[in-house]
Symmetry: C2
Subunit: 412 residues, 2 copies
């Protein structure tokens, strides 16, 4: 079964969706389960109903939009992503994955084709985490990571629970969370990084997600006047922090394969003053690697370097690991289906690990899964300036289409 998607129609869907919750600088604001998010869902459902699809909504508001197959007794092959955005989000993050699924349905409809297994287009609730923490809470609930009750009782900044928001916007469904079981899941997404663009490649065949660990670090020295305090008698918390940062940066940059990532996103000096030696510094550490054992080693190195920096500068150090996300490997047969699709397009592509979290990461716990990345300009996302070209969106949707059909039509 060969089906060509219509890149122009896909682009037009993307631009129409962006008209809901538009922001001043060309982005979108559809926070989860707000009126804007509901309007975005409504637009999608209108389009899908026109194709004869059927809708089920689960108890945490995930939408399952089914296109019937020949064998509706078999588990569906699914695709999808999310329609909610950051407060100043772009037009592509999540949305491309949903509307590419719609485009596959439309292309099948154009050609009057029916797959063996049913297809399911999924819209996951509250992926961004901007309104209700944490991110990806509803796909995580689907995968059994969070309980339904916990998820429904998550509150936004105004104290509104996710359950109340679902009722208010009309998406509190009846389908038990975890249904339907999926035969497989493919998610198309913008890369949200610069790797494909930098390499001149059009498709990322995503083989998994790098592991990640977050730490809060405190360095306590002694604040003192810069003038009268000799270097050797100082307890400079910032000097110790800078030493730690510099050592770990050098370590990560020395990894020629580029699989080691260290980021210090926040650094705060207590009561800073130009001529006072910093007495206390708090900073955050984000460590990532594509191999779990290497991530263990990276954490051990961080702990050693932190202790050494404290000793060198006479500063008391402490750290707390506040989050850990293991390395995830996607299903080989799904990865191969995506790779075959990329190869068929004759464009440069690469196998790569995702650096960011996605709904597919949770879904991969309960169904064979892979992802498809397309380049985004300058690697920018979560930003009104986020952009993916029509050509790359179309290429991604075509690879998605091939992967979906291949899996949906394989022998039972």
């Amino acid at each position: 079964m060969t089906v060509s998607i219509d890149g122009q129609r896909l682009w037009s869907s993307l631009m129409s969706m962006a008209e809901i919750g538009p922001t001043a600088n060309g982005g979108s604001c559809r926070l989860a389960l707000t009126g804007e998010d509901a309007a975005g869902r409504r637009l999608l459902l209108d389009w899908c109903e026109a194709l004869g699809c059927t809708l089920r909504v689960d108890r945490v508001g995930n939408l399952f939009i089914r296109r019937a197959g020949r064998r509706d007794d078999l588990a569906p092959v699914a695709t999808g992503s999310h329609l909610d955005t950051q407060p100043k989000g772009g037009r592509f993050d999540g949305i491309l994955g949903v509307l590419a699924g719609l485009e596959v349905f439309r292309a099948l409809e154009d050609q009057g084709l029916v797959t063996e297994r049913p297809l399911e287009l999924v819209v996951w609730t509250n992926e961004e985490g901007s309104r209700f923490a944490p991110a990806m809470v509803a796909s995580g609930t689907y995968a059994g990571v969070f309980s339904v009750d916990d998820t429904l009782s998550r509150r936004d900044a105004d104290g509104v629970t996710l359950g109340e928001a679902l009722e208010a916007c009309g998406y509190a469904g009846e389908l038990p969370v975890g249904e339907p079981r999926l035969d497989g899941f493919f998610e198309l997404h913008i890369e949200q990084g610069p790797v494909l663009e930098d390499a001149g490649e059009s498709i990322g065949v995503v083989t998994g997600v790098q592991g990640m660990r977050w730490f809060d670090v405190t360095l306590e020295g002694q604040s003192a006047h810069a003038g009268p305090t000799p270097m050797r008698l100082r307890h400079d918390a910032l000097a110790a922090a800078a030493h730690l940062i510099d050592r770990l940066q050098a370590h990560a940059l020395a990894d020629a394969g580029g699989d080691t990532k260290v980021t210090f996103g926040c650094l705060e000096i207590d009561s800073p003053s130009r001529n006072v030696i910093p007495g206390e510094v708090r900073l955050t550490v984000d460590l990532r690697h594509v191999v779990e054992a290497e991530l263990d080693a990276l954490q051990a190195l961080f702990e050693r370097e932190l202790a050494a920096a404290g000793e060198t500068f006479g500063v008391a150090v402490s750290q707390q690991r506040i989050w850990a996300s293991p390395v995830v490997a996607f299903a080989p047969e799904c990865i191969e289906a995506v790779e075959a699709g990329a190869r068929a397009q004759g464009v440069p592509y690469r196998r790569m690990m995702s650096g960011a979290g996605h709904d597919a990461v949770y879904v991969s716990r309960v169904a064979p899964t892979s992802m498809i990345f397309v380049p985004c300009r300058d690697g920018i996302s979560h930003n009104e300036a986020e952009y993916a070209s029509p050509e790359h969106c179309a290429l991604g949707a075509q690879v998605l289409c091939d992967a979906l059909l291949g899996r949906a039509n394989r022998p039972a």
Copy 2:
């Protein structure tokens, strides 16, 4: 002429003065030219008038309290410091220098002695700079660094000028600023650093003040998601800043003589977030050295290291020098007078440069000057916990007494 000061009486004066403007945790709050500062001055003047001293007040409120000599046609030998404090200041910073001068007058009176040259006890207005910026504005005006009109028109946070505050508290004097010319000036002060305490020494013979240069630095990279952005494609402003800090720290620590000081007191990341690579960092740099040419070399090194850090991390860097204070050398004959006094006490002492600014630094432009330091606990000052022991205060006052008498009694 040998005169012994009374350490117990000096301590008692210090504790009495601390009762004016007391703070919750045992410190003092006498912001310049407030009711508290005026009350402190009044207490001192009551004590001095009981000794038969005469008062002149100059146009910026500096007090000149004279004890007559045999040769009142000769320029006076002076001592003094300041009575104003930080908002949560201690009992010693400035105050010790004033009340030690009082104690010298009292000891002379006890023994019925008169010096050849007159002695002058000086209280400089607004040393701390907490109420009116900059610090040491009135001794700077005395030395010709600031004009009288400029100084009188400095405003506090409420818009009150220094001139108005002088009128309000009754210390707007008639004496032309710059008078009287001094034959010499000695200032006793707590060290405000940890060097003497650390070395177990009781007296610092201050030979001058280290030079100082202040810079504002901006590093502009590119913020991006920590997860999907490879290390080699990052433009991490914090990584560049940390590299700069670490390099300069290492350089300063490698100076075995301890004359090189580098301090990064403030560092701020623009829109920090745990999993976002810092796009912009602003930091402050404070460079100090006791030799002007070495300070030039240190600045050049800083500029090279900043450029190199920018290049290494793909970050645009810029810096602005916002303040420079040259190395100051005190008068050899005054330094020797202090050193002789320290030696006579038979206590461990050292020659040292001051790391902080003092009224004596400005006065040294127009009169032969030196300073005497005594240890303060843990090097802490500008803090309610500031403390110097009665023994060290007495030792410092005795060395001051010897230096003053030696100079006041030398042949004309």
